[in-house]
Symmetry: C2
């Protein structure tokens, strides 16, 4: 079953969120409006809103309140992608020109800033101080994650632990917080919203590891950007760390940089794919998923719980 | 009397804020720590914290609470300077290398993001939803201001109104909100904190106009960066708009760009200085100050009111 089918019962609420996102893009500045809209129209899975809504189903679900959390977190996700593309010097994202490619780095920087600011503005409708504290902490962690990612680029001596810490900050926290804030906005009791946080965290870790594996396994068409991009940009991911345990493979990997031709890159990708690095990465991803699934069983029984379970299982098998 | 002497009775509280700023810079990431600390040590007038504290004096002043507002707003000011330097491609600020010059644009972007995030984190200690709403709105306005500034660069057909709207967003709002949030954190009644907002706004407008005048009148040593930098970077300020009313002067001004030599730039600066553009700008700045002074007289009588009056008057006469 496809991901989108699993949460089709959320469709009308997701449409509300999509409209709210569009309205948020109605910037007074035409340039900001165009840049943000370009980003919105490039699509995306809207995974964070889905987690927000599902978590809200464990409490007093009110779409008019909870949509603020969903929109806010999706905006933060989009903002971080825009700034990410500046760092990675990326031309394409989801098969579309990135903002930095279509305009320039400066516009991308401020479009990101603007989306961040809008995210805060939208969340400020939730009058619970704890929600703002959680979001602020999350943003701090996101930034540390991004700057560590710059620092760790082309650093072949980093440990697996460094990688885990980085993807926690880069991906897992925002999914965890989507679950937590969705629950908080719906007045879910502490014990359950903390559990939802952990479920989001484990799913996020699993998701990012698979994302990093797919950068080797999927085609350019599936990815919406060239395969092997992470390696070429010096983003040392889990499969690379595992593959480098073989000294010969390591020697090949450290030769790769932005000037490597597609043909040379293809050879290195093939070596990594032939090694056990991909399988070992998938096993780790699966371990995170199992942790998520165990916790999901401890949640109160309802439709959202079943959907969380289905989503977790599908993420473990996704191809792109 | 020098600005700093006027609020010397705030010195011990300003030291508390300086220490809190330093503690905030203790980032887990060494790179972020160094970059932020570099910025902190470059100094600055800490004007926003001064306004926060003064506004707090109209209510239940508690330094342990109000310091969160002061630190938060100074961090936002610093963050916006860092992103500003990326846009302006600035090498120097306050006589020190900018972060983008000492490291690079990407580090500057994330250092700014980090400071923004820290600012929110610090403010989240204030458990008043209205405070977060005000700050979020302010950030949205700041971003729109920055992006409009990019768009308005080298646009010689912009109106004085466009200029006013831009400096409102760029400078005046943050000073206005410093006053307002300082008052809100001290439980000052609505009528007075709205008045304080307006006072901050008028002072901010006056302040920025003078800043723009000083870019022509002050020496490089006084500015901590080369004179005429605004003009060379295409930032069309009030003196330029006035000077361009003379067709011949306009023809000279529109020739200036980033490749203009210091000698050629000096000639154009001299033409502007000889025109009535500087005096007319100073008159407008003074009109804003008078509005601030009128409102200051309507505040409850206390030491902070006298200090606000002194600061407003000094800003109108400052040389750099």
């Amino acid at each position: 079953m496809k991901l989108k089918m699993m949460y089709s019962f959320l469709n009308s609420d997701l449409n509300v969120i999509e409209k709210a996102l569009e309205e948020t893009m109605q910037a007074e500045s035409p340039l900001l409006h165009h840049a943000s809209l370009h980003l919105l129209q490039a699509g995306g899975k809207r995974l964070r809103p889905v987690f927000v809504l599902l978590a809200g189903k464990f409490g007093e679900y009110d779409i008019n309140k909870i949509k603020n959390v969903a929109v806010s977190l999706e905006l933060i996700h989009m903002a971080s992608l825009v700034h990410d593309d500046v760092i990675d010097d990326a031309e394409l994202r989801r098969g579309q020109l990135t903002i930095k490619a279509k305009w320039d780095n400066r516009i991308a920087m401020y479009t990101g800033d603007y989306l961040f600011a809008r995210a805060l503005e939208v969340l400020s409708a939730i009058e619970k101080p704890i929600a703002h504290q959680i979001l602020a902490n999350t943003l701090v962690e996101l930034c540390i994650g991004e700057i560590e990612q710059i620092k760790d680029k082309f650093n072949y001596d980093q440990s697996v632990r460094t990688y885990f810490r980085r993807i926690k900050r880069k991906t897992a926290i925002l999914i965890a917080v989507s679950c937590q804030l969705g629950a908080i906005a719906a007045h879910v009791e502490d014990e359950i919203h903390n559990k939802l946080y952990k479920i989001g965290y484990y799913i996020g870790m699993s998701y990012q590891i698979i994302d990093d594996v797919l950068d080797f396994m999927a085609t350019e068409k599936e990815l919406g950007k060239p395969a092997g991009g992470d390696l070429q940009q010096g983003n040392i991911t889990l499969p690379v760390l595992f593959a480098m345990e073989d000294k010969k493979v390591r020697d090949e990997i450290i030769k790769v940089n932005e000037h490597t031709t597609a043909q040379e890159l293809g050879k290195v990708l093939a070596i990594i794919k032939e090694s056990d690095a991909i399988d070992r990465s998938l096993i780790i991803s699966d371990q995170y998923l199992q942790k998520a699934l165990t916790l999901i069983e401890e949640l109160p029984q309802n439709r959202a719980r079943n959907t969380l379970r289905d989503i977790a299982k599908t993420i473990g098998k996704r191809k792109f």
